[in-house]
Symmetry: C2
Subunit: 339 residues, 2 copies
């Protein structure tokens, strides 16, 4: 009977003793599929319940080849989409019996040490859930020797899973929505130019526009997905070309910035004078103050797929990483003028 803090930790030994069986029998009872007779199982289970026994996950992980711990690597919460995605992810992990361990990489601190510290716990997988992460951090993940699943971000190697929204589809959805409702001078506000997601969304948007014989009027990359960036982009964009009647933003927070700049600073009405679309569908988009028509990133589908991949990597054998695109969904609210 080991005493830690003030709690008596009950071990297999204790249960075995009370049930009158060997430690192996107890362990097997808690291992699905292991050979135990109905009789022993019964006695073990009741002994375990009486003592309040639960297997020590640390000890278990020591002998087995997996820990059921999944590391989630994050950067700064600079975009309201991130906590949203993060929340969906952790809930799905729980459902799959995994425990999420959090690694936040600080732009001021060491970009790799926190990752190593997670690896010290022999996490099964690294899920990289941050768009903006130092290159060194990403490299450390890839070289860790542990399966890596990257969310919404592509990397040069082909040894990691990549799962992201179908950004081309999203861009096309935005384009058709705006064109079908009679808009003519359209612009795109992207985040960082060298971020895959931003680029793809823009490409999808432009290609679809071209397919409908409507060239893009303006395109700006702000460097980040932040509200502030959107605000500034809108101002510079609309002083350059006052006739723009529709703007597609690479994120909802950019769109919020655009909307506020347009309404508060330029005195235009949305959607009468100008239509704005976003992408993500964060909860705030539904707030009446914004009522943003947007392209939803299906966080739950993404999280589900991540879980699938974790299971895939967990069985031994020859493995192939995948790049998976998850279809997006148009959410219509009030920020786009109707035809």
């Amino acid at each position: 009977m080991a005493r830690v803090k003030n709690v008596i930790r009950v071990t297999v030994g204790d249960v075995a003793e009370l049930a009158g069986v060997s430690r192996s029998a107890v362990s097997r009872t808690f291992t699905p599929g292991a050979p135990v007779s109905a009789g022993t199982r019964e006695r073990v289970l009741s002994a375990a319940k009486e003592l309040g026994y639960r297997p020590n996950a640390l000890a278990r992980s020591l002998t087995q080849s997996h820990t059921n711990i999944v590391a989630i690597v994050m950067g700064e919460f600079d975009n309201p989409f991130q906590p949203w995605m993060f929340d969906a992810l952790t809930r799905h992990l729980h459902r799959g019996g995994k425990m999420p361990m959090l690694v936040t990489v600080d732009s001021t601190g060491d970009p790799v040490e926190p990752i190593f510290r997670a690896l010290d716990f022999r996490v099964d997988v690294l899920v990289v859930a941050a768009g903006s992460l130092p290159d060194e951090s990403v490299a450390a993940c890839i070289e860790s020797g542990v399966p890596v699943i990257m969310l919404g971000r592509s990397v040069e190697t082909d040894i990691v899973d990549v799962v992201l929204s179908d950004n081309h589809m999203a861009g096309a959805q935005a384009a058709t929505t705006l064109i079908n409702s009679g808009h003519q001078r359209l612009a795109y506000v992207g985040g960082s130019e060298n971020r895959l997601a931003s680029k793809e969304r823009g490409e999808g948007f432009v290609q679809a526009l071209n397919g409908m014989d409507c060239p893009l009027s303006q395109m700006v990359f702000c460097g980040s997905y932040s509200y502030q960036s959107g605000y500034e982009a809108a101002l510079s964009m609309l002083t350059l070309d006052k006739k723009i009647d529709g703007i597609f933003c690479a994120s909802d927070s950019l769109a919020f910035g655009v909307m506020d700049a347009v309404r508060d600073h330029l005195g235009l009405k949305i959607p009468q004078d100008l239509s704005v679309m976003g992408m993500d569908d964060v909860p705030m988009s539904a707030w009446p103050g914004y009522g943003l028509t947007t392209i939803r990133q299906p966080v739950n589908k993404i999280a589900e797929f991540v879980l699938e991949r974790i299971d895939y990597w967990s069985v031994p054998g020859e493995k192939k990483p995948v790049l998976q695109r998850i279809p997006t969904e148009l959410i219509v609210r009030n920020s786009v003028r109707l035809g």
Copy 2:
């Protein structure tokens, strides 16, 4: 191209062999304060570096009385303040050498199983960071036998730490701000009536008002901190009494809801016709669209104090829980009319 677990795990044994010393020597080299001669330390360190050795945290935790894992128990992200607090918390934990393990309790799922699963990993502490959590979950935490630190929420027992913002102070700060700028008919919009934070903020507000000979005109508890609640509260409140000229909300998201309802639905101007104050100071408060004057919850100070308490509980001995209030701070923006 596929590597799953073909990474050779290097152990103390390997390092010991290469360095030509015993496993103990290696272990001691990595234990600060343990007696090792400069010579062996040197050889061990270089062997370790050559092999890329890092101690297995699981194995280490098995023998020691602590794991350096801290469980963070959360409910739904129904309030933008939560990810904000959460982020600060995890960063401070990292700084303190702790790894955060996330437990999210789903209102639809089992309220205690995820907590038990975290306890299976012998977490050192449970930090309860959610306001809205089923009572069973809270009870499970308290009975876990592991130190518990509750954030912004009080419980009936006195065996857990409680750390929260100084809500009375916050209420008083809001009151003086509004009174000093000449407001006369004031209202309070709270969250849930049986949530300590909401209650205290209201009390602080009312007491300060009374101290300045200005009785509270109206008070509403919405049941939650959500935007939607604020929206509805504002409508019902202002149809009841059109002369209200200042509203203090128990959270920023309530305040956003109030502002949008007031501006978009009732056609009033903020702050000319009505002043609104919030509490939390989430990043969104600074957006020009809202420009919310609010009371900041000092998330970093809170996180810092949590870390202090974790260290406190980590040394053995007779322990006393504390209830700590962290001072709040007035943040002035544009949602309050100036005297």
